[in-house]
Symmetry: C2
Subunit: 289 residues, 2 copies
């Protein structure tokens, strides 16, 4: 991975990261690692943790004052829980410099983008983003400069989004090594309900259904199938509720697949079971990893 | 991992492995790697593949004749699909030397052990085994000498099992690096229905429910949650049907957990969702990996 020449980093001179956790910390680490020449400001609520993030070299400065963080950056990235993003963006937009670009890293986009669709004065622009990368771990201590490498970032511009702002945002995510895809926010949510939020519920229900006293006889299959169930319940309540409208039909479709398996098992129908498992394998093999 | 001195390998002078696939091949590789001084015979149905397993150094000799393979080994390990084990063991027992120990590596134990409970003449003994280790891959080309290292092997002796035979079997799996646990076959099946067979159906239903055209927006969560759905449909039809009696109530309990999630989401009940996700995380954290 070669460092990009600084002249290619015209997306921002100073980046503020609001919420320096796993995602925010990894963005900071990736910016550093790829030679971002500007300053990185971390905005958070816990002074001690901000100091440690600064000591770890992730941010140049940490501040508990969102206004101060916003005022000095020309690109602000919200990496807070989804339910805090709209209010945070509104507050930041009120105090930032003309022309500032604001984005987020939230896993659900429709409500956030709709709430912020009316725009802001002073050429301040919000465009939704969702870097599709993550971990069940929390905190900047697990920050990974390669977390975004080769991954997809969905950006959700609207008809009102200025082209230059979209270009800056695209350049930012590309600088972190991501492939950028544009999608309407509601389409993003419909797809992610199935590729991300459904798997989370499926894994959590499985972890619930199999109690720890049986884990001595659990293998790598159970380990992998439930890995994401270790994710933060607080963060995920916000995500699941935010996307409930798309997630509920996805869960219903999934329950129907499960019913087919139960029926085939109940009938001891080996042909039907073979079909179901064959369909599953064909899909999974198409993922190729 | 240090090699054991040959005098510790008194469990067998010659091991026959029936079914030289991922599990059988990994047993052969582990025996080699750990300095097993005896001979390893591979029994299979495909001459060309047996020759390749021999060329790869996994077996000393390959044979398509189960009788010949059985006759020269004093430990026979069946690594065939579960539905072929009972007939294979009976045929081998009829032609093997007095005192031969026969075991298997099948994922379901009750039916197999019950079918073979009447025993055999000539001090030939069958004891069921299930090394809880595996992969979604197939074939000895993916054989891994460390596959069993640190893993649990369940053995399922009965009241009639001779103590010396059980000691030999335990020594064999320990030689491969495994921790050996004794359980009645029906208890094994009840536990594995939840820790292994349920996760397989859960993962397969998820892979079915999310079509490949959405995979560009699938992250590591979907990848891990569905990994085992790439396993062989043929092998798994046998396993799932063999354990249908324990798996069906496990699937019912799982569907009930899913219903709780759907209800909480439908009611937009954030407290209930937090409880459900918290329970799941507590369990998953107890797995600790």
């Amino acid at each position: 991975m070669s460092q990009q020449p600084p002249e290619l980093t015209g997306f921002a001179e100073s980046v503020a990261i609001v919420g320096v956790g796993l995602i925010g910390g990894s963005i900071a680490a990736a910016l550093r690692h790829r030679g971002f020449p500007g300053s990185i400001v971390g905005v958070g609520r816990d002074r001690a943790r901000l100091d440690r993030a600064q000591a770890a070299g992730l941010v140049d400065r940490g501040t508990e004052d969102p206004g101060s963080g916003a005022a000095e950056a020309d690109l602000i990235v919200f990496c807070t829980p989804v339910e805090q993003i709209v209010a945070g963006v509104r507050a930041a937009a009120a105090g930032c410099r003309p022309g500032t670009l604001i984005t987020d890293a939230g896993s659900v986009k429709e409500r956030i983008c709709r709430s912020l669709a009316n725009g802001f004065p002073n050429r301040v622009t919000f465009i939704g983003s969702h870097p599709v990368a993550g971990s069940e771990k929390r905190g900047f201590e697990h920050a990974d400069a390669d977390l975004f490498e080769g991954r997809v970032c969905v950006v959700t511009p609207t008809a009102q989004t200025p082209e230059t702002a979209l270009e800056r945002l695209t350049a930012f995510w590309r600088f972190l090594g991501m492939k950028v895809i544009e999608l309407p926010a509601d389409q993003h949510d419909a797809v992610l309900a199935r590729t991300s939020h459904l798997p989370h519920v499926v894994a959590a229900a499985l972890a619930e259904a199999v109690p720890p006293e049986l884990y001595e006889l659990a293998g790598t299959g159970f380990r992998d199938t439930t890995r994401i169930a270790a994710g933060s319940p607080d963060l995920w309540v916000g995500i699941l509720l935010d996307n409930a409208a798309s997630l509920l039909p996805a869960l219903e479709a999934y329950a129907e697949r499960l019913r087919e398996f139960r029926e085939a098992l109940h009938e001891r129908d080996d042909k039907r079971l073979l079909e179901l498992l064959g369909d599953a394998k064909r899909n999974r093999d198409a993922l190729g990893i």
